[in-house]
């Protein structure tokens, strides 16, 4: 089976926790995690609901592979209607929390309503109860984890929580588990905050004992781990350098968005690269990077654990940040660095630490700072308004503003709105580098054309994790395509989108897809789950998930106009590098994309398409 077949429903208004059987018919159509939780969400909430109202729901979900010995089988997903975007939000995370939920016997937990006071959910196998969290409110995710373990005298509890940013409903706040893993994007943390739900604490000792064919599962998962071990990206690049190895690569392609996407290359990219992380610092002779670490079950181990320079201005008076901690990953290093023109690696790590500690998405935070700095430089905002001088490149401003945003102080409250609302407020909506209100990650769509279409059509707003065509356009996985052309990209994007949805629904990490295709996860899922799981079926599950998410967004009020990039990317050509003179070709790719999706000219799925997917 691999599903536990049990759902925990927590009504925060009434204070009740009840179990119910998983809808297995839906499990067969949507697999798990992102797919299955989204199915529950779209069936249970009005797409027009205010994301921060009691009527929104928040679902934490595992997949059938979560908590098994399959490599990377430790992921869980947070699904809700996102406050940053107003679209369906689905953020997934590694660490150990997802597997623990499965070990406690739950496929998913559905939170509904709103508690009248701060609470946390304590789950111990079948037993679940809401407990007072007033003593945790106003504290960080790190303190919350420590305190819950301490007061229960159980260091083996796994916890997922929000920090002050989620409590304050910062629109890009995230849900953090195991200290430095996060369901990061779209403001899922603010939804928890709006429900007065501080944390979810789980201790599961039941394990996963129901895989369909244990002997076959052991054999096939071992074979597939070997593929990961022998692959250049998953076996060597990611464990050794982490995702940040991309910094110099993408910069040389002229696709590293710099200073709020004004430029496509950052002159100091090397200073914030994976190579810089591993190099001994001048100040204390120690490398920033301490070691790599893995999430539950992961044989890749791309995670970075680093130590900040104790004498750096950001932490010199703050010994609590002197220990080892998570970071930096590529997207965070880009958003906190190149996007603002900041080249101080220690400052980037400090901002990243605060994002982890208080629960904020470093991509949206960093990109919003990029917009703030541009408005500071063009005179829209000044020192008096912001509270600090904030020109591009100011590490001091970055560190100051991350504190203000995390703590809800001064101008930080406005930064917490995200770049779209902030730029609109100050009359410069065109300076928000976002789609559907969510900020871009670290690839410029003028230099990597497929990523432009990826961002424009992503159901959760601009995002690299919905169809990472960088794999093909830069790394040649599974086949090399030309990053500078729009030709063939609609098909490429669609194929990546559907396959990614299937990976996400399984409970495995999308990073395996550097080495695995659907053909590699298929035998693992088939050995673990009841039912007949062919590659074609997984493909269809992926396409069904994509169309279901799209339908939700259409009902929420999104139109074709929302599948567009900011003007800067379609009208201001890249100034240098291989893409010099190019703009993002989304307008020419979109009609073809809609067509091959089986959608009409307005981007609405046709009745025929929906029927073929059983929607």
């Amino acid at each position: 089976m691999a599903w536990t077949r049990q759902i925990l429903r927590v009504n925060l208004t009434k204070g009740t926790c009840t179990s119910e059987p998983l809808n297995m018919e839906w499990a067969m159509d949507y697999l798990g995690s992102r797919g299955l939780a989204s199915k529950y969400l779209v069936e249970e909430i009005d797409p027009k609901v205010d994301p921060l109202s009691a009527d929104n729901k928040l679902i934490m979900a595992t997949g059938p592979m979560t908590g098994t010995i399959a490599s990377t089988g430790g992921r869980y997903t947070v699904v809700t209607k996102g406050p940053l975007t107003g679209a369906i939000a689905c953020s997934n995370s590694g660490g150990y929390f997802g597997a623990e939920m499965k070990f406690a016997g739950w496929d998913m937990i559905i939170f509904e309503g709103k508690s009248s006071k701060p609470v946390y959910l304590m789950v111990e196998n079948d037993k679940a109860e809401l407990r007072d969290a007033s003593h945790l409110w106003g504290t960080s995710t790190w303190h919350t984890e420590e305190q819950i373990k301490k007061e229960n005298q159980d260091p083996q509890i796994r916890i997922s929580s929000i920090g002050k940013a989620g409590e304050n409903q910062v629109l890009f706040s995230c849900v953090v588990n195991d200290l430095h893993r996060a369901a990061g994007r779209s403001g899922v943390g603010a939804v928890m905050g709006s429900k007065n739900l501080k944390a979810v604490a789980i201790r599961g000792t039941k394990g996963v004992g129901n895989v369909e064919n244990p002997a076959e599962f052991q054999k096939v998962t071992a074979e597939k781990k070997q593929i990961l071990a022998e692959n250049a990206v998953t076996g060597e690049g990611l464990p050794t350098y982490g995702t940040q190895v991309l910094m110099n690569v993408i910069n040389e392609m002229g696709a590293l968005p710099t200073r709020n996407h004004k430029d496509v290359a950052f002159e100091s990219a090397n200073d914030i690269s994976a190579e810089a992380m591993a190099k001994p610092r001048e100040s204390d002779g120690k490398a920033h990077l301490v070691t790599n670490q893995a999430c539950f079950g992961c044989t890749i181990a791309c995670g970075r654990i680093s130590k900040i320079d104790k004498d750096h201005f950001s932490v010199v008076q703050k010994p609590q940040y002197h220990g080892a901690s998570g970071g930096l990953e590529y997207e965070a290093a880009w958003a906190l660095g190149a996007a603002n023109g900041v080249k101080d690696l220690e400052a980037l790590q400090y901002a990243n630490l605060i994002c982890n500690e208080q629960g904020m998405d470093p991509i949206s935070f960093g990109a919003t700072i990029g917009a703030v700095m541009e408005m500071y430089e063009n005179g829209t905002l000044d020192e008096k308004k912001i509270g600090v001088k904030a020109p591009f490149g100011s590490a001091e401003a970055l560190c100051e503003l991350v504190d203000m945003t995390a703590n809800g102080e001064g101008f930080g409250v406005e930064i917490g709105l995200g770049s779209k609302r902030l730029c609109e407020k100050y009359g410069q909506p065109e300076l928000s580098m976002s789609v559907k209100g969510q900020e871009f990650p670290a690839y410029d769509s003028r230099g990597i054309q497929g990523m432009g279409l990826t961002y424009a059509t992503s159901n959760r707003g601009a995002c690299h994790l919905r169809s990472y065509t960088v794999a093909s356009e830069v790394l040649g996985i599974p086949v090399k395509t030309d990053p500078l052309t729009t030709e063939g990209k609609p098909g490429l994007v669609m194929a990546f989108q559907d396959a990614t949805a299937a990976f996400d629904a399984s409970g495995l990490c999308i990073f395996t897809s550097f080495a695995w295709g659907l053909g590699d996860i298929q035998p693992q899922i088939d050995a673990a789950c009841e039912g007949d799981w062919s590659e074609a079926k997984l493909q269809e599950v992926g396409e069904r998930i994509w169309n279901m998410e799209k339908l939700f967004n259409l009902k929420a009020g999104f139109t074709k106009e929302d599948d567009q990039l900011p003007k800067r990317l379609t009208t201001e050509p890249a100034k240098e590098g291989p893409a010099k003179g190019l703009v993002a070709g989304v307008p020419e790719m979109l009609p073809e994309y809609y067509e091959i999706r089986g959608w009409d000219k307005e981007g609405v799925p046709t009745a025929e398409k929906l029927k073929s997917l059983g929607l």
């Binding site: 098994t68 010995i69 070990f103 200290l179 039941k206 394990g207 004992g209 790599n292 044989t299 220990g323």
Partner: protein
């Protein structure tokens, strides 16, 4: 040749493949809470350390057992709990200086590493060779090799 588990924490990433493999081998369930090897996390230093029974020669647990339920497996050197006679008195859990034998509420018996009969699942599952199963007389061989390499380096 008898073999021993050899653990090199520096190579551990904290993936818990060992705990999954151990629990599956011992109980048929993927369940770290039933694993006889545990990975500890030292967040401040960014270290992960796997820890399990070292199969002491004069094992405290074996000496302390009042019903003689912990026996030596002569082939592997493992000290193995006999489930059919263990009465769950827990005296062994008190006597073990390392904490590597523990009571299991679900079975009413104690559980510890038994080296899987000579082919430990944890070592096979470890993706980074942080856990290996090596010649019991030469668990120091890898460390010796490292130092030997330094001794041979004229630049040092």
């Amino acid at each position: 040749m008898q073999k021993s588990l050899y653990i090199d924490p520096e190579k551990c990433t904290g993936c818990l493949q060992c705990e999954m493999a151990c629990s599956f081998e011992q109980t048929g369930v993927f369940n770290p809470s039933q694993s006889r090897i545990k990975v500890f996390s030292f967040e401040e230093e960014g270290r992960k350390v796997p820890y399990t029974c070292t199969q002491c020669d004069e094992a405290w647990c074996m000496q302390a057992c009042p019903v003689d339920s912990i026996k030596l497996d002569a082939a592997t050197g493992a000290k193995v709990v006999q489930d059919d006679t263990c009465v769950g008195c827990k005296v062994c859990t008190i006597s073990c200086p390392f904490g590597t034998i523990n009571y299991v509420v679900e079975t009413g018996k104690v559980a510890k590493c038994d080296l899987c009969g000579g082919d430990p699942a944890c070592a096979k599952a470890c993706p980074t060779e942080a856990i290996t199963f090596v010649d019991a007389n030469w668990t120091g061989l890898d460390k010796m090799r490292k130092w030997a390499a330094k001794a041979n380096d004229a630049s040092l």
